[in-house]
């Protein structure tokens, strides 16, 4: 990687965090409705994964989707505009936080029903395979999704049809408020891939370089026709499942422990120790992001509401 790319990964992670901190504030001010699931703590996962893809590779994820949205290059202002339900949001204000997508950037959503996007991901990969395209579909989901039938159907199909899919389980330790070991028969989730004879791996999700390198290698294998791969990424969300989560299921010390292992902090130290950037360079990026997010908030707040006639638009093509 060039120095600029290293710095860009740092920029993206900080941008995700600050955009989400701004979103949390907007939520508390009552400007964002519905659910708001923050990705804070998990930034290295989507940043590392998306950085490793080629433009033709599709990305699809679950409802904790702000990270991927920013990684694929949707401007923070359009993400925030969607969160505020504005007409110029990425989904015209009709999707909200859980339904960000940008087809031009090969980002296929933002899906709010746990596990339901896995069969769809298999279909995206099928479409590329059918059309002879050299593309991989990267499908991300939480640990909770591995307990629902859709997951097992989709993994099975992907193996039977040798589909070019990278399954990424973001194991952030909890499905809502239920710890992995209380909901899943195996807490090392990658073991579930064994039942489908699928190559699998386990990666430290707090280390963006580790995630990126693992993803690069796996994507190359899939592109070579090896078929689907299951990657479990170990990570942690600092915030509740969604805003307003009382967090009775975990202790503050546990959160603190993980925060000491912060993905942005780890990456700062990496960049400094490898003499790619010094503290000043990185602080400068922080300030640039702060400014960008402040402008994004202003943009989103000043953006127009959808007109009433939008209610009936985009139900059908014909």
């Amino acid at each position: 990687m060039e120095r600029e790319q290293y710095l860009d990964l740092y920029y993206q992670m900080v941008l995700i965090r600050l955009t989400e901190e701004a979103a949390a504030q907007l939520y508390q001010q009552g400007k964002i409705g519905g659910f708001l699931h923050l990705y804070i703590g998990q930034e290295a996962v989507s940043t590392g994964i998306v950085s490793a893809r080629l433009p033709q590779d599709r990305v699809i994820t679950a409802y904790r989707d702000h990270g991927v949205a920013i990684n694929v290059g949707i401007p923070a202002k359009l993400v925030l505009a969607e969160l505020l339900g504005k007409a110029n949001g990425v989904s015209k204000g009709k999707g909200g936080s859980m339904h960000l997508a940008d087809v031009q950037r090969n980002f296929w959503g933002g899906h709010a029903i746990v596990g339901a996007h896995l069969p769809i991901a298999a279909g995206l990969a099928l479409g590329d395979q059918y059309q002879g395209k050299d593309a991989v579909t990267i499908c991300m989901f939480g640990d909770g999704a591995t307990n629902i039938g859709f997951f097992h159907e989709a993994l099975n199909l992907s193996k039977v049809w040798n589909l070019p899919v990278l399954w990424v389980c973001e194991n952030n330790q909890y499905g809502m408020g239920t710890a992995v070991e209380r909901a899943s028969a195996v807490s090392e989730i990658r073991q579930k891939a064994l039942g489908y004879d699928m190559p699998n791996s386990r990666v430290d999700g707090m280390d963006v370089i580790a995630v990126r390198e693992a993803t690069l290698e796996i994507l190359a294998q899939i592109r070579n026709g090896q078929g689907p791969h299951f990657m479990e990424v170990i990570t942690y969300r600092y915030r509740g499942h969604s805003m307003g989560d009382p967090e009775r299921y975990r202790k503050a010390e546990e959160v603190k422990q993980w925060q000491e292992n912060d993905p942005i902090g780890i990456y700062r130290r990496y960049l400094e120790s490898h003499a790619i950037a010094n503290a000043q360079d990185l602080d400068q990026i922080d300030r640039r992001v702060e400014q960008e997010v402040a402008e994004a908030v202003r943009f989103a707040e000043e953006s127009p509401e959808p007109p009433p006639e939008a209610l009936f638009e985009d139900i059908y093509v014909e």
Binding site: G95, I120, A122, G127, E153, L157, I315
Partner: protein, 323 residues
């Protein structure tokens, strides 16, 4: 014009569309090597090959889910659910995904998707394999629901569905596959969302679709012998629901009977009757009658099963009641 069966009409529509457009492909349980459990895709596997005629695992959610994904990449998948009873296992993908993705992402997603399935009772398959839950699926904006009652309509509507860019649930009927009818030889489509008059008449408007069209036609012939001429409006599509021919007919006859195979409560008859009352109240000369399946799970026993399903005599009786 050739006289062919409902099965042949559907099969020909699929075949011709696959020949015409390489982006059309079929996936489903036993559609390939087996040739389809209702033999609709017999011969397809040998002709089009395994890439375009894909046998799937028995995993309905993923059949529909994968079809949605493939449609998003620009292909035109025709997913087959062996029966509509199995669609419940794919309910999330039909109503929460297919019906909503376009709207929810602000028009970014396009789903040129057809889900073919088979509805209806009368074959002693027991309660879980004999349902006619068509109305449930018609409840959801974003989905289109087509249910033809003749070979001609089946072929024309399926071709239109495959060429459409919207997600369509195409409901065939298990006991119509042997039905014969005139089908044009040339390539044709029938527009989705247009009801039609299948039999002109002056005395009573009979609104129906799918298998109940056949039942209604028989009732009409019987009634005709007694000098009663019913006009039969075939809905053909449950969503969008085209009420124009129904209202026009009703304004002429001032009397209506609605015949559906599904249960009466919250059904097609409820919807059509409500619309007539809303939009043509001044023309109502008699309470609208609804003929539907008895409100029980469908039993296995042949006599009991037939007792539960609407019969020709039920329609005849209802027509006489509104007169």
């Amino acid at each position: 014009m050739a006289r062919i069966t409902y099965r042949e009409a559907i099969s020909k529509a699929l075949w011709e569309e696959m020949e015409r457009d390489p982006s059309v492909f079929i996936l489903g349980e036993e559609v390939g090597v087996w040739g389809g459990t209702y033999a609709v895709t017999k011969g397809f596997y040998d002709h089009f090959g395994p890439k375009r005629v894909m046998d799937t695992p028995i995993a309905e959610a993923t059949i529909v889910g994968a079809a949605i994904g493939a449609a998003l990449t620009g292909l035109r998948p025709v997913a087959e659910l062996m029966t509509i009873n199995f669609a419940f296992a794919a309910m999330d993908h039909i109503v929460n995904q297919a019906a909503k993705l376009r709207y929810m992402f602000g028009g970014q997603f396009t789903l040129p998707l057809v889900i073919r399935t088979v509805s209806g009772g009368g074959r002693q398959l027991g309660a879980t394999h004999s349902q006619t839950p068509d109305a449930i699926f018609a409840h959801f904006p974003g989905l289109k629901v087509v249910a033809p009652g003749t070979p001609r309509d089946a072929k024309g509507l399926l071709k239109a569905a495959i060429r459409s860019n919207d997600p369509i649930l195409f409901i065939e009927h298990a006991t119509l596959y042997q039905m014969r009818g005139e089908v044009p030889d040339e390539d044709y489509t029938i527009p989705i969302g247009k009801s039609t008059i299948q039999r002109p008449g002056r005395d009573v408007t009979l609104v129906t679709y799918s298998k109940m069209l056949e039942i209604s036609m028989k009732a009409a012939e019987q009634l005709s012998k007694e000098g009663i001429e019913v006009e039969i409006v075939d809905l053909r599509c449950l969503r969008p629901l085209d009420m124009e021919p129904v209202l026009q007919s009703f304004k002429k006859t001032n009397r209506a009977v609605i015949v559906e195979e599904g249960w009466r409560s919250y059904g097609v008859g409820s919807e059509v009757a409500a619309r007539i009352y809303e939009e043509a109240f001044d023309y109502v000369d008699a309470p609208i009658q609804r003929i539907a399946q008895k409100e029980t799970p469908l039993p296995y026993n042949r006599t009991l099963e037939q007792l539960a399903l609407p019969q020709v005599e039920d329609v005849v009786r209802a027509v006489k009641e509104v007169l």
